[in-house]
Subunit: 191 residues, 2 copies
Amino acid sequence: MVLAPWRSPIARALHRNRSLVYARYLQLATVRPDGRPANRTVVFRGFRDDTNQLMFIADDRSEKIEQVEHSAWAEVCWYFPNTREQFRLLGTLTIVKQDYLEEDLQQARRSMWQNLSDSARVQFDWAHPGKPKTEGSSPPPPSPTEPLPHFCLLLLEPSQVDHLELRGEPQNRYLYHQEADQSWNKQEVNP
Amino acid sequence: MVLAPWRSPIARALHRNRSLVYARYLQLATVRPDGRPANRTVVFRGFRDDTNQLMFIADDRSEKIEQVEHSAWAEVCWYFPNTREQFRLLGTLTIVKQDYLEEDLQQARRSMWQNLSDSARVQFDWAHPGKPKTEGSSPPPPSPTEPLPHFCLLLLEPSQVDHLELRGEPQNRYLYHQEADQSWNKQEVNP
């Protein structure tokens, strides 16, 4: 596996913005089954080993899962406040649910679960997200080793990346496209 | 005109996050003509007088304009770091270009132009955004009164708002829906 050429500017941005916990928050856009867009904040959970896939987590009862099952295309928008730069990553999402058959991805799902805090894990025991408010029960902390059934790993495989540096003079913008042979090309474009 | 009930929590969030210039940055998701989502950061430019419409600006050569002409639906995702809350506003976009006929919106476009800084105005004289990089010329500062031809005002008219407060215990989430008679209802839902 070769690191895509946009990995290095993202690593640099993560490093230079590490003082801000929310520099790891980004916005994930998907398309609803009726064709309208949806957009929400998610937490970047790292790249999957030996791939260029961004990892997120999700509850399989949330609307985004239904949307992704209808259309796998997504674009994340990632703004870094300290360095004033933006990455837009367009690609397809894979949902790794409890019944996902491929063992290496199921193992990635378990590892992600094991790395979560108790307070993150317990959210997958909460009442159905988006439904009328119900009184929260206080379930015991879930197993730290075996994921709860609603827990999913989400993987974004980018095929196009748009990097904008607002700090340039005037500004700098680079487009990365993945070719049919999986190689990447990089082009400097007007901001 | 009655202020929609989600205006007050947004006003409060803007106030409590006013120390962060980027608390006025939000992510605008639209749908490309081929059905894939697009997502980018835009700057919130206030609400249009006597309406619940959010104002943004855009260059009429940017891809978002073509996308909105194809499908007017958009969802903005607005995360406020200090108060740890998120607003998702789903609605339709109106593009007010140079040739837009309605005079009150054309006046709103001019007012927006007049309120911009020189450095914001000159961007509408730059080379075609997204095209291969061309050497930047240094045009003189544009007229502060009459908008450049590529300058557009974008108006988002929300019909659904999803407000999530991460700070709650466990968390609080409210959904606002606009009814056929234009009134709004508010429902508390599970986070």
